[in-house]
Amino acid sequence: TIGMIAIDEDGHVAAGTSTNGARHKVPGRVGDSPIAGAGAYADSSAGAAAATGNGDIMMRFLPSYLAVELMRARADPSAACKTAISRIKRHYPEFFGALICANATGHYGAACNKVPGFSQFHYMVSDSKSNIPLLKSVDC
């Protein structure tokens, strides 16, 4: 799955996702990616977030919506991402998932839930400072 956020110089925000879902899913199964607030969410007055991982679990908690609302309440993007992940972890300690968050001023962060085989989450960033895609990572 890819989840992507774009913000321009004037603070216009958009987000999107694309995926082929889980391997060997039951036909008809849909994950979090196409659900607004779950797979991604954008509000130019606050910021945007995008999720990845086990969509069957993540879609129950609307983590992208929660993260954007936390950023609206002045949480920094990393903290917003962490809180949204923690909310899921409280019910599903072993869920596989990660979240990227960016506020409307261009601050960004990410968080993930550590499980066997997944202890660090990699994501890409391109901004006017770098002008090229830079690989970033966060420890889960």
Partner: protein
């Protein structure tokens, strides 16, 4: 690290980031950037988890989900369980641009896509066929069914509901290439 404009995406899919960034630099909107970036990943079959030829379902078919959201207007266009169309994010954008709806699914979403000019083609590849045949050979493991007969942790279907339910939730082994 605040510096606008900004493109950020999940996983190390740098070509998708570059495509979105190029779109912004060329004067495209943030929606254009997200569409271009995700479309690049679909064409590149990023990680096997995006686009055609990945994540076959229980019948071996690849289906796609995508969504795009405008943070200015709160408009959303999305498709789910999309069949036979490679450019899922493009269809999601078309849902947003050409309907008052938010989410179209399944066969009807594919018909909508064809009507909007998207080409219908087989999403199966040798890779997805191989993943599927390995799964069949491995007694259909891993498996998302529960409380059915025959036991889905040991046998392939077809399945029928089991009268008695087992309590509790089974922890699933993480496969970082199988994700939404």
């Amino acid at each position: 690290h605040a510096s606008l404009p900004l493109v950020i995406n999940t996983w190390p899919f740098g070509d998708a980031t570059a495509a979105a960034w190029s779109s912004l630099q060329a004067g495209g909107s943030v929606l254009d950037a997200v569409e271009k970036g995700c479309a690049r990943c679909e064409a590149d079959q990023c990680d096997g988890s995006v686009g055609y030829g990945g994540s076959p379902d229980e019948t071996g078919e690849t289906t796609l989900d995508a969504m795009i959201m405008n943070g200015d207007t709160m408009e959303v266009g999305a498709v789910a369980d999309l069949r036979r169309i490679k450019n899922a994010i493009g269809v999601a954008r078309a849902v947003m641009e050409h309907t008052y709806h938010t989410l179209l699914v399944g066969e009807s979403a594919s018909v909508f896509a064809e009507n909007m000019g998207f080409i219908a083609e087989d999403l199966t590849t040798n890779k997805s066929r191989s993943i599927y045949s390995q799964w069949l050979k491995g007694n259909c493991q891993p498996n998302y069914r529960k409380n059915v007969f025959p036991d889905p942790s040991k046998y392939c279907g077809p399945y029928k509901p089991r009268a008695t339910r087992k309590p509790g939730r089974r922890a699933r082994r993480t496969n970082i290439h199988s994700h939404d």
